[in-house]
């Protein structure tokens, strides 16, 4: 994960509540075995009509909004399917952060783990930013300081909370698996005791497969 402490971005509004990951990244873009090609699929049904023609009314299709890299979104953004492709696609498109009053849980973990910053603010504050961003014909200049947990625009300054762990991940660019692997001896020790107490869960996948073979 890349180190980031500061996002100087351009924010635009997507006023849809419960915008699920099926809409962020539709199914037809999930057939790969790598992470490539997801930029094309992002918000596909919003960006293109049913005949594949560009929908000029959608903000991301307007030249003035081509710099958009921060999304001001409705509540429960990223609910639904666990597909991490939604996060990869947002990043490939150029998004650096999403601000909303709540996020789907799996999307939240996926995004923060990949360095797509999710900022949770109270709904009134999100609405205030949305109002500030709308009607200008161009994205709203926005500054997100991860170290100080501050969102700043011309008219507003809001502080947000981020877990110590997630902040460190952004500031230091941690290799989470590498860090967890340092606990390998503890994990193996735990497993031995765990299986000693509950032998019926040891090798459960492989023994079931063998029984059914």
């Amino acid at each position: 994960m890349l180190k980031q402490s500061h996002i100087q971005g351009h924010a635009a509004t997507l006023r849809i509540a419960n915008f699920d990951t099926d809409q962020v990244m539709p199914k037809q873009f999930l057939r790969g075995i790598d992470k490539s090609g997801l930029k094309e699929g992002l918000f596909y049904d919003l960006r293109f009509d049913e005949f594949g023609k560009i929908r000029a009314d959608f903000f991301l299709n307007q030249p003035a909004y081509s710099q958009t890299d921060v999304l001001l979104a409705g509540q429960n953004y990223g609910c639904g399917s666990s597909r991490e492709h939604a996060v990869w696609g947002m990043q490939q498109y150029g998004f650096k952060a999403v601000i909303a009053s709540s996020f789907g849980e799996i999307f939240y973990s996926n995004a923060m783990g990949n360095g797509l910053l999710l900022v949770v603010l109270p709904e009134e504050q999100v609405q205030a930013l949305m109002r500030e961003a709308e009607g200008n014909g161009k994205p709203l200049a926005i500054d997100i300081d991860i170290e100080k947990s501050l969102v700043q625009t011309l008219k507003h300054q809001f502080s947000f909370s981020i877990s110590t762990r997630h902040r460190r991940m952004f500031l230091e660019g941690l290799d989470v698996i590498g860090l967890s692997l340092k606990y390998k001896p503890q994990i193996e020790d735990f497993a031995r005791k765990h299986w000693g107490a509950q032998p019926w869960v040891k090798d459960i996948a492989i023994s079931t497969r063998k029984r059914l073979a």
Partner: protein, 473 residues
């Protein structure tokens, strides 16, 4: 001694180490994989030359991309999807991970396959790169969905860096009326607490109405808890759950069985344990439920009407209603009964089990699929399919004009070739009515298998109780 919830007990018994105030390193008993959320995880391992720490606690099932038409052997015509299946097999063989492959007679939806063969046991932590992993709460196992980066983490360490959740309890007392099922119950609950109502929480379901449900009916409840935003669902394992497991786990016998029963007996929330949020529902008042919008919480009882715009005060909820109705081509204040449908889909990890199919047969009686309606039945697994065929269910469905297909996720998310045409209105036993979920522009109405069956034979959304001869429906 401090009082703990069932959730806290399971977390405590799987905590390798506490990382900080919010996170623990959580040991995972079983990790399920599919063909589309795992490839980049295996690739990530390869890039850093990392192995799979405990292959025997991992299993894969080809489930999402597989076509369901009746052909043997099964072929995946789409080249990209075919590559995903081949790639899954390659990765499983390389790392010694057991697999239910494309032409395995037991292949199916991962959340149907794993419990039916005894792989899910009370007190376990089960994870999968699929949001509907919450299903396993029905057996007192903590299941939850993860992303691909976390799949890679589990493969490498058999653990997850796990953010602790809060506790929520939903109590449902009373007796579900005839004609209503656990699907109606959970749609009812989600409509009340909202699609984000359980965010940050693991939900424990309890109460006499939950206790009265079969294990399969409980799967449906826990499966859809994620549609309220829950990070997990749990039902304390009782005799119903334990009998279900023991019947499917021949390895648990003799002394092991005594030890297991003793261990499982402790899997309940202590009487004074604290829940951050609690809700209560009365099952007696529930009726068949149907969604009208594009989020699972946009649902009403079949006897009810879609909310009037003017009645909604919250501007966000009002905007969502307007956006949803524009997509579903309905009016505020209208009822759903009598609304013509073109397609019926019966299946999925929510409602693709044998009891669901029995409900369908009971509902249709000697009626046939209405003219102009295409009705598909996709069993949740090879085992469900075989049992339905043995019980004569398949023959009856075929005789009534239903398509009897091969197992898989199919039209629940339409990732294979089972995709609805633009504008098609579908009565579906699945879990998500999102825009475009079953096909671009397709309109999904979530409902129980019995309600979907009633829609299939009448051609319109129907109060199933009328077909069943229930009075006052």
């Amino acid at each position: 001694m401090s009082q703990k919830t069932l959730y806290q007990k399971i977390i405590d018994s799987h905590t390798v180490t506490v990382l900080d105030d919010e996170n623990v390193l959580l040991f995972c008993d079983l990790h399920l994989m599919n063909e589309y959320t795992s490839p980049q995880a295996f690739a990530g391992l390869d890039e850093r030359d990392r192995g799979v720490l405990v292959p025997g606690q991992n299993v894969s099932v080809v489930s999402h991309i597989i076509p369901t038409q009746n052909e043997s052997p099964r072929q995946i015509a789409d080249p990209a999807s075919s590559l995903q299946a081949l790639n899954l097999k390659k990765n499983c063989v390389k790392h010694g991970i057991p697999l239910f492959d494309t032409n395995d007679p037991l292949q199916g939806i991962e959340h149907v396959v794993s419990p039916e063969h005894g792989m899910i046991r009370p007190g376990m932590v089960v994870i999968c790169g699929d949001s509907h992993t919450t299903t396993y709460g029905a057996l007192g196992a903590l299941g939850f969905g993860i992303g691909t980066s976390e799949v890679e983490h589990v493969l490498a360490t058999q653990t997850l860096v796990y953010r602790l959740a809060k506790n929520m309890r939903i109590r449902v007392n009373g007796k579900l009326p005839i004609g209503t099922t656990s699907k109606d119950m959970i749609l009812n609950i989600i409509s009340k607490i909202g699609a984000k109502g359980a965010i940050g929480h693991v939900v424990e379901f309890c109460g006499s109405a939950i206790n009265a449900l079969s294990t399969e009916a409980r799967f449906t409840i826990c499966n859809m808890a994620v549609e309220a935003g829950a990070r997990g669902a749990l039902i304390a394992p009782d005799k119903t759950a334990i009998d279900y497991v023991l019947l499917r786990a021949p390895d648990i016998s003799g002394d092991t069985k005594d030890d297991a029963l003793k261990y499982w007996k402790n899997l309940y929330s202590d009487p004074e344990a604290e829940f951050e949020k609690e809700f209560e529902f009365d099952a007696t008042e529930m009726a068949p439920f149907v969604t009208w919008g594009t989020s699972p919480d946009q649902a009403i009882a079949i006897i009810d009407h879609i909310p009037f715009k003017e009645s909604i005060k919250d501007p966000t909820v009002k905007l969502s209603l307007e956006q949803a109705l524009k997509y579903t081509k309905l009016e505020d204040g209208q009822t759903l009964e009598g609304l013509p449908i073109k397609h019926v889909f019966i299946g999925s990890c929510t409602n693709g089990r044998i009891e669901d199919l029995r409900d369908v047969i009971l509902t249709i009686g000697d009626r046939r699929v209405a003219q102009g309606v295409r009705a598909m039945v996709v069993p949740g697994s090879g085992a469900v399919k075989e049992q339905a065929e043995q019980e004569g269910i398949a023959d009856k469905l075929i005789a009534a004009g239903f398509e009897w297909r091969k197992p898989g996720c199919s039209m629940c998310l339409a990732m294979n070739d089972d995709v609805l045409a633009f504008g098609t209105r579908c009565a579906s036993t699945t879990n998500r009515n999102f825009e475009g979920r079953q096909g671009r522009g397709a309109i999904t109405h979530l409902m129980s298998p019995a309600m979907a069956a009633a829609a299939a034979v009448t051609g319109v959304i129907t109060d199933v109780r009328k077909l069943q001869g229930v009075k006052n429906a």
